[in-house]
């Protein structure tokens, strides 16, 4: 499996741009609009798709109902929608249940990287770790303490 290397901010930025084009836009045209290579926006498109914010057919990116709801609401309520969506991502669900079953609901970064490495075939697992933590922090689900080098469940 691969995981999209895009931050939540980039993904929402993408939704905003597609929204300006009337809710549907050709990926190549969108990239050209920003003077970017298609490669540079693909991770954001993949991320948006994984979170259920767009559907992609034949290079056309179309906003889903959830994306429209997200864009219409304020920063506070966006957080809630993001939380629900991120919580539903397979690899994050697995991490969450691992944390629930672990002692003190904490897992070392080392162990987390090993788990991720088994799922994501990459030489650069660190940057995937950073992205996943970016998502789970936005969602208020999983945090990371860089002093103790442990991930932990964020209590509500």
């Amino acid at each position: 499996m691969i995981f999209p290397k895009a931050t939540i901010s980039e993904i929402i930025g993408l939704l905003e741009v597609v929204n300006d084009s009337g809710g549907i836009e050709d990926a190549a045209r969108l990239a050209a609009d920003f003077d970017l290579e298609l490669d540079e926006i693909l991770p954001s498109i993949d991320g948006a798709e994984l979170l259920g914010f767009v559907s992609v057919t034949d290079g056309n990116i179309e906003l889903t109902e959830d994306a429209r709801n997200l864009l219409e609401t304020g920063i506070r309520d966006r957080k809630k929608i993001i939380r629900d969506k991120v919580a539903g991502v397979g690899i994050i669900k697995e991490l969450t249940s691992m944390l629930m079953e672990s002692d003190e609901r904490k897992i070392s970064k080392k162990e987390t990287l090993k788990f991720l490495q088994d799922k994501i075939a990459t030489a650069d697992i660190e940057s995937y770790f950073r992205i996943i933590i970016n998502w789970t922090r936005h969602a208020g689900l999983i945090g990371y303490n860089s002093d103790s080098e442990e991930i932990c469940l964020i209590s509500k």
């Binding site: 993408l14 922090r137 936005h138 945090g143 303490n145 860089s146």
Partner: protein, 247 residues
């Protein structure tokens, strides 16, 4: 009237050479103004902003804030820089609490910090160190930190220029959402940018400067409804108009 920029000129002297950077700049800032200052590179935009917040002295002229000459430590005026510094050894929350230190203590500082952390969508990142943050999240800390002092006038120098295109889009929209909230500071914004589309997207007033020495060539009211759409032909007419005025 919030602020008055009166007959501002600025000449720098380096190695015995005099360079005039600003030439007799005059305008007033009203409540609810979202002013973007645009102009060619090197025309003195950053210098003008630094003079407005009192960080730099003009060679002649003066800046009045609510009728008084501006002082650099005026708590009602805040500035967000393009590459502002966060303290690397402090967490997000501590970085924000730090600016409140002189005015608010303990629980109250914490309350205010939390309010603005939530306002900019940084909750979940409170205990994170700057090195772990993406550019977009860092810039959010910058906004939260300046908003936390609850300024009346917020000045920003190219706050989006070091971000990637999508992140910057997201931050612009969120900043406008905050701006639309009446209960949120500030009362007026002055933002410097070299990006004309960005100016038309954000501003209700655009001030265009000439090449150095910067003079005001136009002061335009942007009469576009919000939320604005970059694909709207009307939007493009404004962009073209601003471009045509920049030499």
């Amino acid at each position: 009237m919030l602020a008055e920029i009166k007959n501002i000129s600025k000449t720098f002297e380096s190695d015995g050479n005099k360079i005039q950077v600003l030439d007799n700049i005059n305008f007033t800032v009203e409540d609810n103004d979202f002013i973007c200052i645009v102009g060619p590179s090197g025309c003195g935009k950053s210098t003008l902003l630094r003079i407005i917040v009192g960080l730099e002295k003009p060679t002649s002229g003066e800046v009045l804030f609510k009728g008084e000459v501006i002082a650099p430590d005026n708590p009602k005026v805040a500035m967000v820089f393009q590459n502002f510094a966060l303290f690397p050894w402090l967490t997000v929350k501590e970085n924000i609490e730090l600016v409140l230190e002189s005015k608010k203590y303990g629980e109250e500082a914490e309350k205010v910090a939390c309010k603005y952390i939530r306002a900019v969508g940084l909750d979940g990142f409170e205990r994170v160190y700057p090195r772990e943050l993406s550019g977009g999240m860092k810039q959010r800390v910058g906004f939260a930190r300046e908003l936390a002092v609850e300024p009346v006038l917020l000045c920003m120098d190219e706050p989006f220029s070091s971000l990637d295109a999508l992140t910057s889009q997201n931050l612009k929209d969120e900043l406008l959402m905050l701006w639309a909230e009446v209960s949120m500071p500030p009362d007026a914004v002055i933002m410097v940018t070299h990006n004309v589309e960005e100016a038309v997207y954000m501003a209700n007033r655009i001030i265009i400067l000439s090449p150095r020495p910067g003079k005001i060539v136009a002061d335009l009211k942007i009469e576009l409804e919000r939320p604005r759409n970059r694909k709207d032909p009307e939007f493009y007419r404004w962009v073209d108009k601003v471009y045509s005025l920049i030499v």
